[in-house]
């Protein structure tokens, strides 16, 4: 971008109003503040305007106006992202996709559903449930978060251990390129010709264009789901059980671990009836009844063999919901026991779990802050919650340093910067810890192939010297989180 306007000139503003209708262009400062951050509230910026198009054609017009006027744009779904991927650019506009929330077609003979990007994740499963299907990716914010946002961040969820991530379930999409053209990538039918551009666009955090239509793969609902909660004396013992379950060739739908600090918070806040123990594992198996039952017995035995003092098996859907209740409510429970917390999203190879958890305990001591661990153990995706008090003089800084040290620990163990929250703005300056200048240069070249002018979500994913002198603010809970509609994991 050569020229960046300090405010939106009258001409592009008029053009935007003409493109989408005056009432769908927001410029009132109070309204704009609603859009100043996503679920990662430490980063805030007020955009010049928010535009709410209702169709692919309108998105095309808006993007073309941006391009002509050299105005950067940031696409936004429901704003539940946790990496600042939808953080506005101060000299740009936000293109909100929330009006595009129709489920366009069900083609269940081919196990496909076509949706607009603003459709909430859970709505897809609801729409196909009467026919015996589900949409597998299930981020914790699934009641609110949009499919478009899921595509941008390649969202996961507790059940992606078995079923994979958004990228494994999106088969085609319509992309409005940063140059304002409409590309159809992928196909409802497998093996479409050409480069797998679809695979690059999924997870590109809105930097390669705006997705305006998505074709999803849905799956038949499994015949049987079985869930257990096992109480272990320590995270080491629970980690050993995870390793043995995987080594035995069992691929559960989900394996979630909670440490003592998490269990205590959950009990204090919501009385989920969890056992008093050093670590709890929540294991869920699904599939054909025959397979499920054969493997479930094996999992129970492994847990007992690894020192589980208690194994609770859900006998029905109500009991299953109860076992999940504590896990699902863990983050909000943390708000009841600590004034503030910061959530990290790191990944380690499964075999390094015990080592990294021990490392985190050591860091707790060194930084003088408590860390609660609740995470997707099956795929090594850690969500350490760093508990601090922003009113204490060094609290926020210490929390930030501890969070960074945990990430370094993950990378040293051969892991990754982010398992499901994305790089966004939050981790853009940490990218060099994982990727060499050459790695980043190749990504940059790819980005410019889609977006030669650099108008699509600038400042996200790839670091620039200008960006990385700045520091994020401290964590403040998102309104959605406070209302209990969404959680941060």
């Amino acid at each position: 971008m050569d020229r960046i306007p300090a405010r939106l000139d009258q001409a592009p503003l008029d053009a935007l109003r003409q493109a989408v209708g005056g009432r769908w262009v927001l410029t009132d400062p109070d309204q704009l503040r609603t859009y100043e951050c996503d679920g990662l509230t430490g980063w805030r910026a007020v955009p010049l305007a928010v535009v709410l198009p209702s169709s692919t054609e309108e998105v095309v017009q808006v993007v073309r106006i941006c391009r002509r006027s050299h105005v950067p744009f940031v696409a936004r779904g429901s704003g539940t992202g946790l990496s600042g991927g939808a953080l506005p650019v101060e000299d740009g506009i936000v293109i909100g996709l929330s009006r595009m929330r129709e489920i366009l077609r069900l083609d269940l003979d081919n196990e496909r559903v076509v949706v607009q990007p603003g459709v909430p994740n859970l709505e897809v499963s609801r729409a196909v449930a009467p026919y015996g299907y589900l949409y597998a990716p299930d981020p914790s914010s699934q009641r609110v978060c949009s499919i478009g946002g899921n595509v941008a961040e390649n969202s996961g969820g507790a059940h992606c251990l078995k079923y994979g991530f958004t990228t494994n379930h999106v088969v085609a999409l319509t992309l409005v390129t940063p140059e304002g053209e409409v590309a159809h990538l992928g196909s409802a039918v497998p093996d479409s010709p050409g480069y797998d551009l679809l695979g690059v666009v999924v997870g590109s955090e809105g930097t390669l264009g705006i997705v305006t239509e998505v074709t999803l793969r849905v799956l038949p609902v499994p015949q049987r789901v079985q869930t257990l909660l096992a109480a272990f004396p320590s995270t080491d013992a629970a980690g050993e059980a995870v390793a043995e379950i995987i080594a035995a060739g069992v691929l559960p739908a989900a394996i979630e671990m909670m440490d003592r600090a998490t269990i205590e918070a959950v009990e204090f806040a919501m009385h989920a009836g969890y056992p008093d123990c050093g670590a709890a594992l929540l294991v869920e198996l699904d599939g054909p009844q025959s397979e499920c039952e054969a493997l479930f017995g094996q999992v129970v035995e492994i847990c007992r063999g690894c020192g589980a003092s208690e194994v609770r098996v859900a006998e029905d859907e109500a009991e299953r919901a109860l076992l999940w209740k504590g896990r699902r409510g863990a983050f909000s429970a943390m708000g009841r026991v600590s004034p503030d917390y910061y959530v990290q999203d790191g990944v380690v190879p499964r075999s390094q779990l015990a080592r990294v958890l021990a490392g985190i305990r050591e860091l707790e001591g060194r930084h003088g802050l408590k860390v609660a661990n609740v995470f997707h153990a099956g795929d090594g995706n850690l969500h350490p919650l760093i508990l601090y008090d922003r009113r204490s003089p060094e609290g926020p800084d210490r929390a930030k340093r501890l969070a960074e040290d945990i990430l370094t620990l993950c990378l040293e163990a051969g892991g990754s910067l982010t398992g499901e929250h994305g790089v966004g703005r939050d981790k853009v300056c940490q990218m060099p810890k994982l990727f060499s200048p050459d790695d980043q240069m190749v990504m940059h070249r790819l980005r410019r192939a889609f977006d030669p002018e650099g108008t699509a979500n600038p400042g996200k994913v790839l670091p620039t010297p200008r960006l990385c002198g700045e520091h994020p603010g401290i964590y403040r809970p998102h309104p959605l989180e406070l209302s209990g509609a969404a959680q941060r994991l």
Partner: protein, 403 residues
């Protein structure tokens, strides 16, 4: 000796350069066989600076896939990059150099004490295919029904651009959203964007037991209806191969012995004429699946259709039609067809396109013509723009692949 050969020998040593021969195309080209990723990158940089056209070759088992390259001045072979770098059984992942063959990888990962794992890919001529080649051609086989294709199992990659830049994408953990997923872009790019030098892959445990269900002389509509029922049945199919024109369905179920048997019974009941295959029969079934449709003359096409139109595709493959043999992953709607020697591939491609499907070259046929089905024009422009961004001088396999 040409000056190119002399320069390559100076770079790599005499043992790593084969003088020009004609196997890569109409004009003879030498073959360089670098022993490290760094040396391979240097070879590419040299070729790039001289504006030479480079074809990358692994095991050579998919040499005939895709469109024919326009020209070739140098073949770069990856087969000397053949080490398994990491295998952590507890993580169900491995990292290997791109020239390691799939057969060798399977042998190595199966031998880890206390674990019995494998890479769940079974592409045609898989034993001799290299990992880099399997990824670059997005090749898969019957196991795709359950485990997907290379795109689903590739966790990360190291690759060399034409200008000699070595870079990485992804990582070696199963869950990772840091940066663009260039692994997806390289998968199926047929050596036109970069040369893959290292891959990180997801492994799976080898299931303790397998059961087979077989049906014969199915007609197209019955087969489609049976597959529709199977897709919704409480049974996880590892394979569901339709072999045509003889009307055969071969379904495999894997897992704990009791679970396997129960699911096989469910499958058997849903397929007209279905029966459980005896243990002695299974080797023969596996061989049959491997041979088909490659044995025999005639061009072979990769083929895919919507699953609710499988019946119409099977009807196209009736005796006396253009198709000699069809192998189709019945729950996915993708597979291969070998055409009769005299059949017109373009006409057949048009019939498949009418069903909403796609075809691509795997062996023989008119590989010099434009793609059998046109791409979306804007997607094609983006693809060209990506090609130019990564390989501005079109050093890598010019004319091959999708653009």
């Amino acid at each position: 000796m040409t000056s190119l050969e002399a320069d390559l020998e100076a770079l790599l040593g005499r043992d790593s350069v084969t003088p020009a021969d004609g196997r890569a195309g109409p004009t003879p080209a030498p073959t360089a066989r670098p022993r490290s990723a760094e040396a391979l990158a240097e070879v590419l940089a040299l070729a790039n600076s001289r504006r030479l056209a480079v074809l990358v070759r692994g095991g050579g088992t998919k040499w005939g896939w895709g469109r024919a390259p326009g020209r070739c001045d140098l073949v770069v072979e990856t087969t000397a990059l053949n080490r398994l770098l990491e295998h952590e059984p507890g993580d169900l992942t491995c990292v290997a150099e791109a020239g390691l063959t799939l057969g060798e990888l399977q042998r190595l990962v199966a031998s880890a004490p206390g674990h019995h794992q494998r890479l769940m890919l079974d592409p045609p001529q898989g034993g001799d295919a290299t990992l880099g080649g399997v990824v670059a051609t997005a090749a898969s086989g019957p196991l795709r029904a359950r485990y997907g294709t290379p795109r689903d199992l590739l966790l990360g990659a190291r690759f060399a651009l034409a200008d000699g830049t070595l870079a990485r994408t992804g990582g070696k953990v199963v869950k990772n959203v840091a940066g663009y997923d260039l692994g997806k872009l390289l998968t199926g790019s047929q050596g036109t964007l970069a040369v893959i030098v290292e891959v990180a892959l997801r492994l799976h445990p080898v299931p303790p037991a397998s059961c087979w269900v077989v049906a014969e002389r199915l007609d197209p509509q019955t087969a489609q209806a049976a597959l529709a029922a199977l897709r919704r049945a409480p049974a996880v199919l590892s394979m569901a191969e339709l072999l045509w024109p003889e009307g055969r369905l071969l379904a495999r179920l894997d897992g704990a012995p009791s679970a396997c048997e129960q699911q096989a019974e469910i499958v058997r009941a849903l397929v007209p004429g279905g029966r459980l295959a005896g243990e002695r029969e299974t080797d023969e079934l596996v061989r049959m699946i491997e041979r088909r449709p490659w044995d025999g003359e005639g061009p072979v096409l990769g083929i895919s259709v919507p699953v609710n139109r499988i019946g119409e595709l099977l009807a196209l493959a009736a005796v006396g039609g253009p198709v000699a043999h069809l192998s189709l992953r019945g729950t996915v709607g993708a597979g291969e067809a070998r055409l009769q020697a005299g059949a017109d591939p373009a006409q057949f491609a048009a019939r498949v396109a009418d069903l909403g499907g796609f075809v691509s070259w795997h062996r023989g046929g008119d590989r010099d013509s434009p793609p059998l089905q046109p791409l979306d024009p804007v997607a094609a422009r983006l693809a060209l723009s990506v090609k130019r961004a990564l390989d501005p001088h079109s050093t890598l396999a010019p004319g091959r692949g999708p653009v």
